[in-house]
Assembly symmetry: C2
Homo-oligomer: 350 residues x 2
């Protein structure tokens, strides 16, 4: 009889933040791929594109003209999924048809005036400026009393539904607390009630002892592949200090976060020597809704590429109907990312 091995046998792992499980099939990496291969978009954009609605001085869909900005630039999304003026209302027919209005504000943040940059190619100072904008936008939105949650995120790359390659992110804020945050709140709250320490603080302690899933750390942040990662090279950045939102980050922490983001996204680009697509975003406590002392700020990176610049993991079929599934282990991914250089391939090859 063989013993059960995480790096060899199919198994499930618990996501301690959501209570969900992931199916891991470590033996399946040998599967040949005869399916869809992504186009790799050539990476030779000009630093200014007269047709881009994010470049300085250009016009936008709502008729406005962008200022000649030099760092980042924030505006309301011209095609917002959520609107502040939504009338109140709800529906409940026998608990079978249940709906409620949802107010919100959607913003777009251009990360840089330069059309041809991405976060890993920006300087530490420029990324720190982006972190500053995230913090101040968070504070501005939280000042609107009806807002309960502020989702800061970035979609990078065409295959992640990003409709414009100009480096930018989004903020969707809303009157109710979205699904993933409800789940993470519940688990963190339960844990905190028992341990009087945050779930992620104890998790981080254990991971730092083990080392095998750590990708990078500095004085204030750790980047690791979570034990329960779903996406092939998924990463979570966690603050070493237990704070429940970006609002509480000091200047030193903001620089350290910028560094962690630069290192993670550089390693990503280096992995397959391509501009690495992902969706990334922060999870933090709801606002205007009490204290949430259990909440521990963190940032998820969900990148789809599996084997190369053109072969991604599809979350389809079994995954949509039954359970998320992955082929490589979190430990394998962490090891590859750790070994990958922190110097961007465009620089080291220049």
């Amino acid at each position: 009889d063989q013993a059960f091995e995480l790096d060899n046998n199919p198994h499930t792992r618990l996501n301690i933040l959501t209570g969900d499980w992931v199916l891991v099939s470590p033996h399946r990496t040998k599967r040949p791929w005869q399916g869809k291969v992504e186009d790799v978009t050539p990476d030779n954009r000009p630093d200014y594109d007269p047709k881009c609605y994010l470049c300085p001085g250009n016009g936008r869909a709502d008729g406005d003209t962008n200022p000649d900005y030099t760092e980042s630039f924030v505006f309301n999304n011209d095609f917002a999924a959520l609107l502040p003026e939504t009338p109140n209302g709800s529906l409940n027919e026998d608990g079978l048809l249940v709906a409620a209005n949802q107010k919100g504000v959607c913003k777009v943040i251009s990360f840089s005036p330069k059309h041809n940059l991405t976060l890993p190619e920006m300087s530490l100072e420029a990324i720190t400026a982006v972190v500053n904008v995230w913090q101040s936008e968070f504070e501005n939105l939280a000042a609107q009393e009806w807002i309960r949650y502020i989702q800061i995120f970035e979609n990078k790359g065409e295959i992640m539904g990003c409709s414009n390659p100009h480096p930018h992110g989004q903020i969707w804020s809303q009157g109710d607390i979205p699904l993933e945050i409800v789940k993470e709140t519940e688990r963190q709250k339960t844990y905190y009630a028992v341990h009087r320490k945050s779930l992620l603080a104890n998790y981080l302690k254990l991971e730092l002892e083990k080392g095998e899933r750590i990708v990078f750390q500095n004085d204030h942040f750790v980047a690791l592949v979570p034990f329960w990662a779903v996406w092939p090279y998924e990463i979570m950045i966690v603050s070493k200090r237990h704070v429940n939102s970006i609002k509480l980050f000091t200047n030193a922490e903001k620089v350290a976060l910028a560094e962690a983001i630069k290192v993670v996204t550089t390693k990503y680009d280096n992995l397959f020597e391509t501009s690495f697509p992902y969706s990334a975003g922060m999870h933090q406590a709801p606002v205007n809704d009490g204290d949430y002392p259990e909440w521990h700020w963190h940032m998820h990176f969900y990148p789809p590429l599996l084997r190369s610049a053109s072969v991604k993991k599809f979350m389809v079929g079994y995954e949509m109907l039954a359970n998320p599934q992955r082929d490589i282990t979190a430990e394998f991914a962490a090891n590859r990312l750790r070994e990958t250089s922190n110097v961007h391939y465009k620089i080291s090859k220049a």
Copy 2:
């Protein structure tokens, strides 16, 4: 002051099967699309491909040769994500690193010997034969006492991660109950305990009264766009009779199910005059684990196309980090699908 309108104002809707919510942004359909456009794979395959591992008489990765089959053909997945021989074992470090082995059996079902067909292009008899195979495979797998859940599904189209265009589906069966089934069991059980009727029986009754989300019905099945649909043209087929698995379908029901599948997939192809990609699969009661009288068999179709053969909905960023979101309403989608012909465009144009 304006009144709240489901077809006009951003709102959330409850998925009564899972307890999850979807954010609906009906006003957002005007958004222009400058992002990724999918390649439309030309639809001119031969009816036999000597390199296809599903065509009759061809060799497969495990060294086997396919028989000269004339209807459908079932074999164990050569690159199975789950294996029956997995050793038992588990891990639990302080509730932070939690994992357990998972045994399973993964099968592949070729729907037809013809390489160039898809379900909507197959005859009612041929689709009925596929339904028969699903039923007998379900019974065979359920006869293995350690199996708790049997997921029958199909990934259709390259953008749904389907690695071979030969018409085929899969069955992944396993020793534990996967996430989506745990959620749907919980909600159906709670409802059944209170109402002594299945959740979906009462939901179906209400939907048939209203009519606005119904796409098709025959004597035994209803195809509708669920009130809480996430994917643009999502459909759920529900059995009119409350049975908890495919095992209990009569011959008449199996023919009626084949018809419902033929109509739904034909309408899909006609919508954008393209071979419409989707992941589809049945949800039914766990096996070898008691009675599950609350469970009501149904089949989900999750198709990604939004506006044309080449523009899909991306579930990224906000959707991954916070909450699923859609731009058109379920009512709009149902209306378009209802109006779309039941005769396949390749036939009506021939």
